[in-house]
């Protein structure tokens, strides 16, 4: 990373230095530590909503049988069988 280009992005909404507007191609660099663009609040909120929706659907899927078998084994161990 070039010296003097360090931008401390806060968890959500750190302000990049203005000069970094012209270095946005570093966002495409896989190894770059900083992404000198910050999505606005509305965009981040929308992404958050989509991600939460996607993930909650995964979490609410039924537990597959192969894990239920494992649960039974744990249960019987707890009962000292």
């Amino acid at each position: 990373m070039p010296a003097g280009k360090k931008v401390d992005l806060q968890a959500d909404g750190g302000q990049p230095e203005e000069k970094d507007v012209y270095n946005m191609h570093t966002a495409m660099n896989e190894e770059a530590e900083d992404v000198p663009v910050v999505l606005d609040e509305r965009t981040r909120a929308e992404l958050g909503r989509q991600l939460a929706k996607y993930y909650s659907q995964l979490i609410s899927q039924p537990i597959p049988d192969q894990f239920l078998e494992l649960l039974k084994k744990l249960d019987s161990k707890e009962r000292g069988e």
């Binding site: 968890a11 012209y22 900083d34 509305r42 992404l47 991600l51 929706k53 993930y55 537990i63 597959p64």
Partner: protein
């Protein structure tokens, strides 16, 4: 491990299952491989239960085992495995932005376009609610690296969804800004 500790370990393991599976599906891209990954993770957790330090974050410990197992044993061939749910095969004929809302499959396809590192960081922080510090520990890298991956993941998703607007910069895509810069 004492009997009560053993009991709470098992209870916590069971409670974490849906989350482990959701994270595994996000990494693997299909539920068949994800189930094997979770199974392997649970087996390792049980075999190494005495290595868990009481008082530390149990869920983070499980997620660490899962992601390490994925990157060491499951990553290869990720794209080749058929999706047992047929999700990957169910191609939509329109882009997400064309019908104004996105269903689960749309969003999954967008997530699949992120790198493994970016997707992992985004899910852990954005969906699982781990802190950047916890996520850095789970992934075995620096906090700054995680922040960077999450930011890049969000940026790419927003661009793919066509909703990327930026603070203090205006609704330009980075590629447009780069082109603009090049023409100055």
């Amino acid at each position: 491990m004492s009997e009560p500790a053993n009991r709470s370990f098992n209870t916590a393991l069971v409670a974490a299952m849906p989350n482990l599976r959701a994270f595994a599906i996000s990494l693997c891209g299909n539920s068949h491989t994800a189930n094997d990954l979770v199974q392997e993770t649970l087996a390792k957790a049980l075999a190494n239960c005495d290595r868990f330090k009481e008082g530390t974050n149990f869920k983070a410990w499980l997620f660490t085992i899962l992601r390490n197992t994925y990157f060491s044993d499951f990553r290869r061939g990720r794209r080749e495995v058929a999706d047992s749910d047929g999700l990957a095969a169910a191609r939509l004929s329109t882009h997400p932005e064309q019908h104004g809302h996105m269903d689960m499959l749309d969003f999954k396809r967008l997530l699949d376009q992120l790198s493994d590192d970016q997707r992992e960081a985004l899910i852990l922080v954005g969906a699982e609610g781990f802190s950047y510090d916890e996520t850095a520990e789970i992934c075995g890298c620096a906090v700054g690296t995680i922040k960077s991956r999450v930011n890049r993941a969000r940026l790419k998703l927003a661009e793919l969804m066509g909703i990327a607007t930026f603070e203090d910069i205006g609704p330009e895509l980075p590629t447009q800004a780069v082109m603009k810069r090049a023409s100055v």
